[in-house]
Structures are given as C-alpha cells and as structure tokens.
Amino acid sequence: MAVQNLTPEQVFQVDSGVLAILSGVSVPMETVENGTVAVRSSALSSPIGAEAAFICESLPESIQAIPLLGIRDRSALRSPSVLVSPTLVSPLPERTLEQRFREQADKWARETKHLSSPTQMMMHPSYQAILGMALENKREILRLLILDLQQHRNEWFWALSYLTQENPIKATDAGKMDRMIAAWVNWGRENHII
C-alpha cells in the first residue's frame, strides 16, 4: 500500500482536495505521520465530495472538527476513515477562494516543475484540492485557472477540460504550449470567463 505523509497544513487547506485525491482517483492510500493523520481508502469509493465518508473518531469533540475539514453534509458520514489528532483541530483564518487557489497553485507549480508525467502532476494533492475548490464556485476557479495559465504558464489543461468538458485545442496544436495557452485564453474570452 502506498504511503504518503500528509502535513496538518495539507489536511486543513485541501478541504475537498483530500476527498478528491482519494475518491476521484481511487488510489488506495494510508497515511500516518507521528500518529497525526491516518487516511484509509476503504470507505472512499464514492464520487468527489458527495458521499465521502469522513469522521473524526479519536476526539470527543469530533463533530466540531468536521466543518474544519470541509465536510458539510453530516449524513455523508458512514465509516471511520480519517483520524484527526487534537493538534489538527484549530480554526482556520477566513481566506478567499482566490487566496486558497493561489496558495495551492503556487505549491503545485513549485513541487511538480521537474515532472513530465501528466498523471503524476495531477496526482499532486494541490491539483486535486483545486479541482475540489471548483465545487464551491466553478466559474471562479475556471477564471483563476485560465489567468494562471496565461500569466504563469502552469499546465492546467487537463483540469480545464475536466471542469468544462470541452477542449478548444486543435489537434495540430497539441504539445505546443503557446498555442494551447492561446486556445484556452480565447475560449475564456468567448465564454466571458475572463
């Protein structure tokens, strides 16, 4: 079973990102870092967000911890799959969607710039976190993705296609960054996203 160390920061920031990487990609995963976080995939075969089974079972005040993890629908709780230590349960400062996007996008760009495999890049928790943010405001995330693509040349092509179910890139332009970026920027303008 693959092992990854999640930091408290990741757990708090990704909201549905943790759900996304586990349920969206359906990757078996178990995480243990000094007993702080344990994620088990057994209960996470459902689509992103909707029925993800998360519960904080090691804490008496576990229910209070749930909103902090981005779980809004308590009826979705089914079986234990996440254990959260008291050190992880602290209020998050209010941040805008754009701030959270920027934070995750920068982190993703920083940690995947040496990678070539698109699958490996998409597996990064920050990529999944951004896909999860689209559940809150898809149009805003599309706008931020296209602007980031334009300004920083971060490769959000697959995320954009996934969220819009469209692909404005001509077959002859595939693999050519400038043309691919231009295609999505034009698409964003035509659809009044940017």
């Binding site: 693959a2 092992v3 990854q4 990609v25 359906s26 990757v27 995963m29 940690e111 995947t112 710039k113 040496h114 990678l115 070539s116 495999s117 698109p118 699958t119 490996q120 998409m122 597996m123 990064h124 040349r153 092509f157 697959w158 296609s161 692909n167 890139i169 595939a174 693999g175 050519k176 960054m177 400038d178 691919m180």
Partner: protein
C-alpha cells in the same frame, strides 16, 4: 517566457533539492529553463513540443494513448521510440560506440521520465519537466522513491538503443547539436555556466 536563463546557484539548489544524489556527482546545466518541451521530447531530440501518450501532447497517430487517470506504460514508449529506430536492450546502460541509448524511468504508477545518453557517452541528458536540461554521469543520479505520491522519477526500468546511423538519418543528431550550440553560444556571450563542484561563474 518560454526560455529563462536562471541564476545557476538557484538552479543548483533546486535540482539538488529534488534529486539529492546530484550533490555527490559532477553534473552540469545544458539548457535554459524552458517549458516548451520536456524529457520525452528531449529524448526524441526535439525542443519544439511536448511528447507524451495522451491528449494535449504530440504522439504519433495510430499508437495507443493513455489519458489520465490512465497511466503511461513502458510499452507506449517502446512503440513510440520503435518508430525512431530504438529497440529494447534490457538494463544495459553502458556506452557502446555506434549506438545511442535512451532510458525509461517508472514509479509504481507508470512511466515518469526519460533520459538520453550523451552522444559520446559523457553521461545522460535529462530534461526535468519545465526545468533545465542537465547532463549527469549516471542514471542512478536522478532515481528516487517509486511511491506514486513521492513526486520522484522512481527507477530505470528499461533502456532502448539505436544505431548512430538511425540517429543521423532521422535528423535527430542535427537537432540535438543545434540546441547544444545555441546554449553554448549564450554561455559564451553571457558567461552563464555552471558545473557542480567546478563553479565557472
């Protein structure tokens, strides 16, 4: 912004941060930062596109593709590089006069990276994603964890080779030399150079 001649110290720190084994070997930068191509394209001796078996990348028609969440497998690359005259040769990474070799790296999920042997056997050329192309002496220098969450290249799983004649007739050699010449020219004009252990700037 496709090309960027970054501070060599910054490049050194970033590479060693990602590939710690580079701290102990003699390696050097061979290109600017460039997001117009990546490792597979550079293994094909191309600097004008990105190659990968999936949507949004260049891949020959008729060959199988792997769009996410499917992962690219070794056989995708064996078939693609077969069209360029390469044939699998196990894990034989030695330099053989008359042959050019490329190496495939993979982790638990699938293929992650490719490196091309220097034409004269001086090491292996790796274009690390959007980052610089480097020349490192051994394939092991950039190997790492095979876990799918490790953000590393994993291990070398297969090496392919072709004859110099094939490299010559496919114009690959010319493209590689042209790219190297452009970078060398920039180095001469701007004094931009870095070699691990032998700081030139």
């Amino acid at each position: 912004m496709a090309r960027l001649y970054r501070n060599p110290k910054q490049v050194q720190d970033e590479f060693i941060g990602v590939f710690p084994k580079l701290a102990n070997v003699d390696w050097c930068i061979k290109s600017p930062w460039d997001d117009d191509y990546q490792c597979v394209a550079w293994a094909e001796c191309r600097t004008d596109r990105k190659s990968w078996p999936g949507a949004g990348y260049v891949w020959p028609e008729g060959l199988p593709q792997a769009n996410p969440p499917q992962t690219a497998r070794e056989d995708h690359f064996v078939q693609r590089f077969g069209l360029l005259g390469y044939k699998p040769c196990g894990l034989d990474r030695s330099f053989e006069i008359g042959y050019q070799k490329v190496a495939i790296y993979a982790n638990d999920l699938g293929v992650t990276h490719m490196a091309r042997q220097h034409f004269l056997g001086r090491g292996w050329l790796s274009k690390a994603g959007s980052m610089e192309d480097i020349l490192h002496p051994n394939l092991e220098d950039i190997e790492g964890d095979t876990s799918i969450f490790a953000n590393q290249y994993g291990k070398v799983t297969l090496i392919l080779k072709r004859t110099w004649w094939k490299a010559f007739t496919s114009l690959s050699l010319f493209r590689c030399l042209l790219a190297a010449f452009k970078f060398r020219l920039h180095q001469c004009v701007h004094g931009y150079a870095f070699r691990q252990g032998k700081r030139l700037q």
